[in-house]
């Protein structure tokens, strides 16, 4: 079902491209999506028109020539803006509706701009944003004030309709050379230079990389074909060093004390922080600890700005909690209705797997150890039979991805988790809720609700921020579950609410060459997560995902979790989605 939806989204994009190209005999080199995962109609048409008017084979060669560059995504965005102008001019007489579609794309740009959060704005590549702003403002007939350089770039990007393939390529490489001093195939980016450049950008608070629209490469020049759904790394946010004491203090100030002792943590880290995660650290805390932190600044933090950061973070987390609760209150009816429906659905699902608690009886299975009571004490109740009381013997762990990519959906995620947790509790299934994120090299798992607690209010502590090093978090959770039930008396279900886009500022550790490690993102990080999920399953923890991300990441979720996931975009879908997911997981591997 979900696969079909994904196929649908990508298929829809492909259909726009094929339709505009008037051919169906090629696999599009790019697909265009909005950050929400919706298909970007206009830009997909532009891609199709580029296929129609230019030799795409030659263009692909050109795009691949810089695909290894760390700014490849930025170049893509800018050059496609140029190509957009050219194919528009070529096609407009043949397809007059293009003028309307272009305007509508422009107004989409401004509409999305208004709904972007500050954090999202910060993630925006300034240069791409400026140039998109110029282009779409012109289309809308708005005036924009530009600096000399901005103006030169925007003029350079107005590729005319008269270009043929060769002159287009000439124009594009000229553009890269003039404004980026980048000659595809010749320029080598030195790490130290980029580091310096990164530092400068960081200093001015500029972020490069992510941009408002995701122009997704389907395969890249580097030879990997599965890079298509990743968010690019922001060069200015690279975190190449192993976390130090300062970072630990920072994490402690925000999340509170680790619930494990130092020794325990050392053992955990020596077990889990190996291979690709060798430089990472772990932190396990509870939501209550965080609450206490809100009033209590950590004096150990020396730097004033860090102190300010911590205060700001704590304030935001507290206000997010209020927002989560307000959302619940505002949508009380819908949430209660969903709880009711999911409870009923789960009741049906679990009843098939429920176990009756044994009770003493005069007949049934003889308990050998008690048999003496019959002759000695004349106690006939030495048998066991299935009693009326039912025990599910299933415990559920809800693991919430709390990385920054979830910023726009925090209230929704909290509410959905609340619905799932309440429904499980009503079915007498113990449930714990954990959230995970990675910040400053620490993968933090926060327990929002414990197994023993009967209310699910803790989930409203959920707040997003930081990165997500999924594989490491999954392994840590595996340890936690194993520790909770070392004898395996329960069946454990792990439901991960995720956007399936693992992404960390700290690269994958490569022994002996840490600083040249590959970025923790895209296909590599997905493969890591996939391995971690396999390990969870090998341990008997039935792992599945509730996918709440952009359609563009559906491929990842499929790779990581196989078919055991469900895609949810609103609370109303929860009851059907989650119950059938749990049913599927139980059916595939019923409790012992």
């Amino acid at each position: 079902m979900i696969r079909k939806q994904y196929a649908g989204n990508a298929r829809r994009a492909r259909n726009y491209i094929w339709n505009a190209a008037g051919r169906y005999d090629f696999e599009p080199p790019y697909l265009a999506f909005y950050p929400t995962g919706a298909v970007d109609m206009y830009f997909n048409m532009v891609i199709g028109l580029a296929v129609k008017w230019f030799d795409m084979g030659r263009l692909k060669e050109f795009f691949n020539s810089y695909a290894a560059s760390r700014s490849a995504d930025e170049y893509d965005e800018l050059l496609w803006l140029g190509i957009e102008n050219s194919v528009y001019e070529k096609e407009i007489s043949e397809r007059p509706v293009l003028a309307d579609l272009r305007k509508s794309r422009a107004s989409d740009f401004f509409r999305m701009l208004q709904s972007m959060s500050r954090q999202q704005m910060e993630m925006q590549s300034m240069l791409t944003y400026e140039q998109q702003n110029v282009r779409w403002s012109e289309v809308m007939g708005k005036k924009v004030f530009l600096t000399g350089k901005q103006k030169r770039i925007s003029e350079a990007l107005r590729f005319p309709g008269s270009l043929d393939t060769e002159s287009l390529i000439e124009r594009m490489s000229g553009f890269l050379e003039e404004f980026f001093r980048y000659v595809p195939g010749k320029t080598k980016e030195s790490r130290s230079m980029s580091g310096l450049r990164d530092a400068i950008f960081r200093g001015f608070g500029k972020r490069r990389g992510r941009s408002e629209k995701l122009m997704l490469r389907v395969g890249d020049g580097g030879g990997t074909t599965d890079r298509d759904v990743q968010l690019t790394h922001t060069a200015g946010m690279r975190f190449g060093f192993a976390p130090g004491e300062k970072d630990e203090e920072y994490v402690r100030s925000i999340f509170g004390e680790c619930i494990y002792s130092e020794n325990e943590m050392q053992i955990l880290e020596s077990m889990l922080c190996v291979d690709a995660d060798a430089a990472s650290r772990l932190w396990v805390c509870t939501a209550r600890n965080t609450d206490e932190r809100a009033d209590n600044r950590n004096a150990a933090l020396q730097s004033v700005s860090e102190n300010k950061d911590v205060r700001e973070a704590l304030r935001k987390m507290a206000s997010q909690k209020e927002r989560n609760k307000k959302y619940r209150a505002d949508h009380a009816l819908m949430i209660e209705e969903s709880v009711k429906r999911l409870t009923a659905e789960l009741d049906t699902v679990f009843s098939g797997y429920a176990r009756h608690l044994p009770e003493k009886a005069k007949a049934g299975r003889l308990v050998a150890r008690q048999a003496y009571r019959m002759s000695v004490l004349h106690d006939p109740y030495v048998f066991l039979r299935d009693g009326d009381e039912i025990e599910n013997r299933i415990s559920v762990t809800l693991l919430l991805d709390a990385s920054m990519s979830r910023l726009h959906a925090q209230e929704l995620i909290a509410a959905e988790s609340y619905v799932i947790a309440r429904s499980l509790l009503k079915n007498d299934v113990p449930v714990q809720i954990l959230s995970y994120r990675t910040i400053r090299g620490f993968t933090v798992v926060q327990r929002l609700k414990g197994l023993e607690s009967k209310d699910a209010e803790g989930v409203f502590h959920y707040a997003a921020g930081g990165w997500n090093r999924d594989a490491l978090a999954f392994r840590l959770v595996r340890q936690m579950i194993n520790e909770q039930d070392p004898e395996r008396r329960w069946s454990h279900l792990l439901l991960i609410l995720t956007d399936a886009s693992p992404n960390d500022s700290m690269p994958l550790a490569v022994p002996g060459a840490r600083f040249n490690g590959r970025e923790y993102e895209g296909a590599l990080s997905v493969r890591e997560a996939q391995k971690a999920v396999k390990e969870l399953r090998a341990d008997g923890i039935r792992t599945s995902a509730v996918f709440l991300g952009a359609g563009a990441h559906l491929d990842n979720v499929h790779q990581i979790f196989g078919k055991e996931y469900v895609r949810i975009s609103k609370i109303a879908q929860l009851s059907d989605g989650v119950s059938s997911l749990i049913e599927m997981v139980l059916r595939e591997s019923p409790p012992d």
């Binding site: 726009y16 339709n19 008037g22 169906y24 109609m41 397809r95």
Partner: protein, 307 residues
């Protein structure tokens, strides 16, 4: 609309064939009571080659089987042929439960006695005219066996308990079929060998444009061109199996123009007459995408019909 023969002359159809049709018209006259059965085509069929083949087959006494995908104008050609030969038409829409009694006739009670109520094939054979066997491959082959003797050299139908009906010399049967359509079956050899089979090509853009402009003479020619391209895009998408052929509906496209004439926007009209022809929600999205990338949804009567 001008006389069909005049239209054929304009199309450049062979003068010999047209003369043959005229001779046919003069030779065979039909009863006055069946005059209403001679169709007045709403649309012309464009395509000289198809016209010539069809006329030749019918003039030589053959029955004709028009085979082709949706929107190739099979029924339009049937109507046009009957109009050209000035012959009354008996239409039989085939379906899975079709049987011999429906085609030939059945006993009925007229208040006093049991009588034979003739079916369309019986009437067509007896009175003379064109029997249009629409979607002939929808019916089971067994129920079509009754037609064999009418269609081959015997040209007779033996109605059990009644007479042997001789098929009149001016009678022709024209079957239509869309091979591979949902619900269709393989036509057996015994039946297909009794027809001259004409494989219907898809309508070309120039012909489609003429068809639209003839039906809606006030339409803006540029806009008409966009609609033609839209149809081509849908056709290509169907051929590439990205969508089913439900939305590839020429009648629907022409209906949409009528709705636009009535004041609906192009978006609304195309939604009703093209997009909603398919009931799969996802497929509708794909079709809407094609429509949106060619025709502005808000375009109204003024733009479509104003030059």
């Amino acid at each position: 609309m001008k006389d069909t023969l005049a239209f054929l002359r304009e199309e450049g159809v062979s003068a010999d064939l047209i003369a043959g049709v005229e001779a046919f018209r003069n030779t065979y006259s039909m009863k006055e009571k069946y005059r209403d059965r001679i169709p007045v085509p709403s649309y012309r069929y464009y395509g000289k080659d198809v016209w010539e083949r069809a006329l030749a087959a019918l003039l030589s006494g053959r029955n004709l089987l028009l085979s082709g995908p949706k929107a190739t104008g099979k029924n339009v050609l049937c109507e046009n042929l009957a109009a050209a030969f000035a012959m009354p038409v008996w239409n039989v829409s085939f379906h899975i439960n079709m049987d011999a009694t429906y085609l030939i006739g059945t006993d009925t009670f007229d208040g006093e006695k049991v009588t034979f109520r003739p079916g369309p094939i019986y009437l067509c054979a007896k009175e003379g005219g064109f029997g249009v066997l629409d979607e002939i491959n929808m019916a089971k082959n067994e129920s079509l066996a009754v037609l064999h003797s009418a269609l081959d050299f015997r040209r007779a139908i033996d109605v059990p308990g009644y007479d042997l009906i001789r098929v009149k010399p001016e009678t022709r049967f024209i079957g239509t079929m869309n091979y591979g359509y949902a619900g269709t079956r393989e036509l057996n050899e015994a039946l297909s060998s009794r027809f001259a089979v004409l494989s219907m090509p898809e309508i070309g853009s120039a012909d489609l444009e003429r068809l639209i402009m003839n039906s809606f003479p006030t339409m803006n020619t540029k806009i008409c061109g966009q609609f033609v391209k839209l149809f081509e895009e849908l056709l290509l998408k169907t051929q590439k199996a990205e969508i089913s052929d439900r939305a590839l509906d020429l009648r629907g496209l022409l209906d949409a123009f009528s709705l636009i004439e009535q004041g609906l926007t192009a978006g609304q009209a195309l939604e009703m007459c093209i997009v909603n022809k398919t009931f799969d929600a996802y497929e509708r999205t794909l079709i809407t995408d094609v429509v949106r990338s060619r025709i502005p949804a808000e375009m109204g009567r003024g733009e479509v019909f104003g030059n």
